[in-house]
């Protein structure tokens, strides 16, 4: 059970959601947006978060869209992972999603919730980073669109009243060759030691990873190095210097082992795709 009291809201419009959020802030209280709410429930049960209000976004029209329109794949933030996997027609996104949590849990976890998670992994973002997606944000002044690389990770870049409504990406990109691997300590259903998603788009090899550092990363400099390298080993030595924060070192895996695995995976990707590029 959750031991403290809170207020629960299910607004029908984004304006109402923002108004409720602003009202709680003005009273020096802590509101929190939710769509799936699984992480909030787990953390609230352990008293790691104690929001005064839950603002559930599920009832807002548009937050459930998952469709190809005007050349873009558009996914609302309250779309469940299973719905996105089934209806996005994006093979890499489907594969990545099917490795997150369990089938039943994915009926509740949403795209928006996964991207806004406080956990380091957030693997659903990897295909979105690889396709240079755009994020539609709700703000008190209306909707704005930003490149995902400018707003992710949300906890570092989003302003207090900004809220993810949708993610858009070029429909033409989704069918390009892809690669996905998730290394876990024991069972397949677990947080990753390291996960790597890659796409071969035109002459580029695009790489994104989760589990290596505090946030999922797109490895743009490594992508350039791989294309230019005569010997793949040369660019593997540089990987650590491209990371914005230390490699995670915890009870799941030591940092040296995470780096070792990551290098092996990058080597495999380069060997498989370099010839084609």
């Amino acid at each position: 059970m959750i031991s403290f009291d809170l207020q629960y809201f299910q607004p029908n419009t984004i304006e109402d959601a923002i108004n409720i959020y602003e009202q709680f802030i003005s009273e020096n209280k802590k509101p929190i947006y939710a769509s799936g709410g699984t992480e909030i429930i787990s953390r609230a049960r352990r008293n790691e978060v104690q929001p005064d209000a839950i603002i559930d976004l599920k009832n807002i029209p548009g937050f459930h869209k998952c469709e190809h329109k005007a050349g873009k794949l558009q996914i609302g933030s309250a779309v469940t992972l299973n719905h996105a996997a089934t209806h996005s027609n994006f093979p890499l996104l489907k594969t990545v999603i099917q490795s997150i949590a369990t089938q039943t849990a994915r009926n509740k976890i949403t795209i928006g919730g996964n991207l806004a998670s406080s956990l380091p992994y957030r693997e659903a973002v990897l295909p979105l980073l690889l396709t240079d997606s755009t994020i539609v944000l709700a703000t008190p002044k209306g909707a704005i669109t930003k490149n995902i690389h400018d707003v992710f990770p949300f906890n570092e870049h989003l302003k207090e009243l900004e809220l993810m409504m949708e993610v858009h990406l070029d429909s033409k990109l989704i069918k390009h060759p892809h690669f996905w691997i998730k290394k876990t300590k024991q069972s397949q259903i677990n947080y990753p030691i390291v996960s790597v998603a890659a796409m071969h788009i035109d002459n580029e090899i695009r790489i994104a990873t989760s589990g290596l550092t505090a946030n999922p990363l797109r490895m743009k400099q490594l992508e350039k190095d791989i294309l230019q390298a005569v010997e793949i080993e040369d660019c593997l030595d540089q990987i650590e210097s491209y990371l914005p924060s230390p490699i995670i070192d915890d009870m799941i895996a030591q940092s040296d082992y995470r780096l070792f695995l990551f290098k092996q995976i990058i080597k495999d990707i380069a060997i498989n795709w370099k010839g084609a590029s």
């Binding site: 009291d5 809170l6 207020q7 559930d56 089938q103 849990a105 009926n107």
Partner: protein, 159 residues
């Protein structure tokens, strides 16, 4: 705005119920307080599947639901699964030992067969991996669901 308990209306096992809940209350607790103890508290963290229920025919862990979220939803718990086909297959294949995980498994298997009456091995694995059996009777559970698929038990419901 207030912190008072709220009244929610929800259809549980075919009956419309009006329940008084705390706004922070989780639906697993609401169900059990209402006498529907078939949904079992296990990890209470969304990991074990022992509290699985069906919300609008979709398996959801009741420990991962605010009671306020199920307003006007159609809920099925193990007490409401009148169809005995899955239970009989579990019995036939000895797919239960202590029985604690069994309601969650049966509802998940029932939903799997409703959505995928001819589920292939990969789909079955994906779905059943959502539940944990600490008696480790996994193979017998797979055998029970495979039996139902092989017998085409749920094909007519789907087609």
């Amino acid at each position: 705005m207030n912190h008072l308990p709220q009244t929610i209306q929800v259809q549980i096992n075919g009956q419309v119920k009006t329940l008084m809940v705390r706004q922070a209350e989780l639906f697993l607790d609401t169900l059990r307080n209402a006498g529907l103890t078939g949904a079992k508290p296990g990890c209470k963290n969304g990991d074990c599947g022992s509290c699985t229920i069906l919300v609008d025919h979709i398996p959801i862990q009741a420990c991962q639901l605010f009671s306020m979220e199920v307003m006007d939803k159609n809920i099925m718990t193990i007490e409401g699964l009148i169809d005995q086909t899955v239970q009989k297959a579990f019995e036939e294949k000895w797919a239960l030992q202590c029985g604690y995980c069994t309601p969650g498994y049966i509802l998940n298997a029932y939903a799997l067969l409703q959505h995928h009456p001819n589920a292939d091995e990969e789909t079955m694995k994906q779905w059943l991996d959502s539940n944990i059996c600490r008696c480790t009777g996994y193979q017998e559970i797979i055998d029970a669901v495979t039996l139902l698929i092989d017998r085409n038990e749920y094909h007519e419901h789907h087609s």
